[in-house]
Symmetry: C2
Subunit: 134 residues, 2 copies
Amino acid sequence: MKQNSRLWLALHTLGHIANEPDRMHTSAEIADHAGTNPVVVRRVLGRLREAGLLVSEKGHAGGWRLASAPKDITLADIYSALDENIVAPPPADYARSCAVESELHKHVTSVLLEAERSLVERLGETTLAQFQEV
Amino acid sequence: MKQNSRLWLALHTLGHIANEPDRMHTSAEIADHAGTNPVVVRRVLGRLREAGLLVSEKGHAGGWRLASAPKDITLADIYSALDENIVAPPPADYARSCAVESELHKHVTSVLLEAERSLVERLGETTLAQFQEV
DNA sequence: AGGTCTGTAACTTTTGATGTTGCGAAACAT
DNA sequence: ATGTTTCGCAACATCAAAAGTTACAGACCT
Ligand code: FES
Ligand code: FES
């Protein structure tokens, strides 16, 4: 795998699950498929479970399945569940000479946030249903 | 500074330069302003120069200035010059069981690319002129 | 009871970004 | 010419986040 591949892993995995919504998928199976490790898979899918997109069950017939119909899960849901914060990294510990109260500073920040908002909006137009039966 | 702050540094810096387009800005000055190091600044601005957005000059009155009018430089230009590749990380070394030729796989990839394309399109609607005189 | 799973915590490894130092090349001032 | 300023670049050192790993407890089914 690689860095910042959480979104990638989540999308491909949910794509597969959406194509077989009726059975449970184990983290071992998914990990093998994605060329990674079960624990890593659980870490990522765990976030999606917290967001209510997935359900997991323990024990013999355990594993993961979608919490709702593919058509009711958008890519924006997935993106948000991972809180990637991709386009607008936090301000860090910048500038002394350019205060946070600066108009320019606030303006730049708001433009970045707006761009990300628009990205999420775009992702909201695609659902997992579009990954079925392809 | 922090990780993945190239875009952040570029936007804020160009914002400042756009507000004083007529004088040269040195990397030392910019670095001080952004709370980082001159070499780091040159690394980032260097990419923008390669993309034709900035011009740099050596020597006494040297430094950096815009290569064209603020209204002719969009945020998409800046984003692209840094080739961030933010939303769609390269496929890495995934799956043996899920071939690259898989329809599902291609579909997921194309959706990611489309999302990024739409992000860039959105960034293209804002120019540096909007950072002037704020 | 025994076998599968997930859930987590701890730790190590890897990777990319950033920070740092040093020096050469160009431009300019004196 | 000489010295100063500033970029350009290469070669490191440092840092932080992500990913990989190991280990074990808890839940569930047969
Ligand atoms: S650092 Fe000056 S505008 Fe953000
Ligand atoms: S891993 Fe990409 S669709 Fe199977």
